[in-house]
Symmetry: C2
Subunit: 221 residues, 2 copies
DNA sequence: ATTATATTTTAGGCAAATCTAAAAATTTAA
DNA sequence: TTAAATTTTTAGATTTGCCTAAAATATAAT
């Protein structure tokens, strides 16, 4: 009935890779989990026996419905704990991932549901990623676009940074940009695709095309 | 360097049994951990090799200084998480132990120290047990006595319930007695050693000798 | 002081999760 | 369409944490 921590990590990784590029391979999964392809094959056979993945040797694999549900639950745990760490223990988003990697495996369903209540049912984690509800349903996310696609002069809210590296975090922290920050593009420079932006209706600053591409914003709400 | 969850559980159990009756035996430890004596011997050999216990075959064993420090750290984690669960997630003390049993094994020292801060550096957990500080030092506890030893008419504060079973908790919950409750003995009945007590300066109630013996109180503070 | 009882340890095994090296299957390229 | 390269799987080990059954040791009772 209860899934081991290692199995949970495998299911979660499959889920993420599947969401990203529709399909997963043994090698990719091994890389994602810092393990070896042979170990993945071993684990896959066990997960299949438990009905958590559909697997045919040499042909590929994917999560079963049960596997998907299990994965989503862990992702929910992970993201809710990240909220707790950032909002209440005052960590910043670059630090919380590791800790959440452990916290996500706690087995009490009631604990996580109460935590959700305590946090006020947040809809996204500190990185802007959506948090599924207790039944595993992701609420429709508000449409988000990469910052370079935003029309000049139109105000928008930062909803995600992706991918989240320590380096971009450091840069954005310095420029006072985070999830929830309001941004308006003042000027687009065709020369290098850098942008001059206004941050929270105050000072202006310039970001490179690379930085801009990693910032996702939403014009609604 | 890092101690496995199972080893942490062993160290903690040894610590508790040692504190209780000064010494621990293989059988006791096996019972406490719901495992077999042979498994204890195996584990003891490993813990000795790592310098966490002092062990001589057939002669007995005890925690080394390192082992003691590790155990205290886990106990700190356990009790701080119990505080969080009761004070912020609104669980009651009978429910938190299991969850804390998992939470205590999280590896981030910084996490637990921030949690401590978030909680306001509590000195005892919801069961009245003392919480060591980040360096593993237990602050001197205020003197506590079993309720039957309290003088009639002298007001005191409930500081602990021991042992904590679900049954006594249920009873005390019904009578609105918990850690921090103020109690004054109004009458001691010699016939069965039951006590008539006043709870929080309000209504009076009667508790049996057995119940009274499990309630610890402090007159100071 | 023997003998009986209880405790503790060894011997041998098993399941989970990993690994390396080698074999098998698939995919890509010539 | 065969050969080469890549991917995936098997075979065989290892480590950790636990088990049962049997042997060793210590303790208690005649
Ligand atoms: Mn994890
Ligand atoms: Mn996240
Ligand atoms: Mn535990
Ligand atoms: Mn406690």
């Amino acid at each position: 009935m209860k899934i081991s921590i290692s199995k949970e990590n495998h299911l979660k990784a499959i889920f993420h890779l599947e969401s990203d590029h529709g399909t997963v391979t043994t090698n990719e999964l091994a890389a994602a989990l810092h393990t070896r392809p042979a170990s993945i094959t071993d684990m896959l056979k066990k997960l299949q026996k438990e009905g958590l993945v559909l697997y045919e040797r040499y042909k590929g694999f994917s999560l079963s419905q049960d596997g998907k549900m299990a994965a989503v639950q862990i992702i929910r745990n992970h993201r809710l704990w990240e909220c707790f760490l950032v909002d209440h223990l005052d960590f910043d988003w670059s630090q919380v991932h590791e800790m959440a990697e452990e916290l996500e495996h706690l087995t009490s369903r009631k604990l996580i549901d109460r935590l959700d209540f305590f946090l006020g049912f947040p809809r996204t984690d500190p990185h802007g990623d959506p948090i599924p509800d207790s039944d595993g349903k992701f609420t429709r996310q508000i449409a988000q676009i990469p910052l370079p696609n935003l029309l000049t002069g139109k105000e928008a809210t930062v909803t995600a940074i992706r991918p989240q590296t320590d380096q971009i975090l450091e840069l954005l922290q310095h420029k006072k940009i985070k999830i929830g920050t309001r941004i308006t593009i003042r000027k687009k420079f065709d020369f290098d695709d850098s942008l001059e932006i206004e941050v929270d209706g105050g000072a202006s600053t310039t970001v490179s095309a690379l930085v801009a591409k990693n910032i996702y914003v939403s014009v609604q709400k």
